[in-house]
Amino acid sequence: MSYKQFKIFRILTAFFVAILVSVSVSTKNPYLALATVIVGMLFMFMVKRKVKDTLVDERVRTIAGNAALSTYSISVPIIAAISLFLVFTNLSNESSFNYQLGMTLSYIVLFEIAVYSLAYNHFKKKYGSDDEQD
């Protein structure tokens, strides 16, 4: 299968998944949405294996890496600032929705930082640490 055919399959799959998820939302059926997403992912995984052309190369990986770093650098400070604002403006009422939301967001930020640190250390070891000396 060529890259062009793969792109057509990807668009069609996204189209059908979007339709079925919107049907499941309107009929209040979460199982249909879940099943649709899983089947869609499996289908795309199978289609991807049939593609003979190169889909991902070093340039795509560089772009993805830069995009991921930008996303991390932007999302973490913004979510952290929102969570701090929500927590400190609702300190008097710890059972309020906003306080709970602030706490949840702060844990999400901590989780993101932890995943980033793990991934960073993994790739640092893979591509050679700065600490190594002859």
């Binding site: 890259y3 052309d53 190169t54 889909l55 190369d57 070093e58 340039r59 795509v60 560089t62």
Partner: protein, 62 residues
């Protein structure tokens, strides 16, 4: 700067064919030719070997 376009024309190859030979996407070859993307050493060697040239004959850096 690089001479990929020249050597590709000599061999009468399309960007897609060269991409297939060196195992990258067509967009990567376009980006290298337009000097918007600097290839890794591995890819630079692959391209040079494909054209039977030395790496410094294909890629120059000033």
């Amino acid at each position: 700067m690089n001479k990929i376009k020249i050597y590709r024309a000599e061999k009468n190859l399309t960007q897609e064919e060269l991409a297939l030979k060196v195992g990258v996407t067509r967009q990567t070859i376009i980006a290298i030719e337009k000097e918007k993307y600097v290839p890794s050493l591995e890819l630079a060697f692959k391209i040079a070997r494909f054209f039977d040239k030395k790496i410094e004959e294909v890629f120059q850096y000033y």
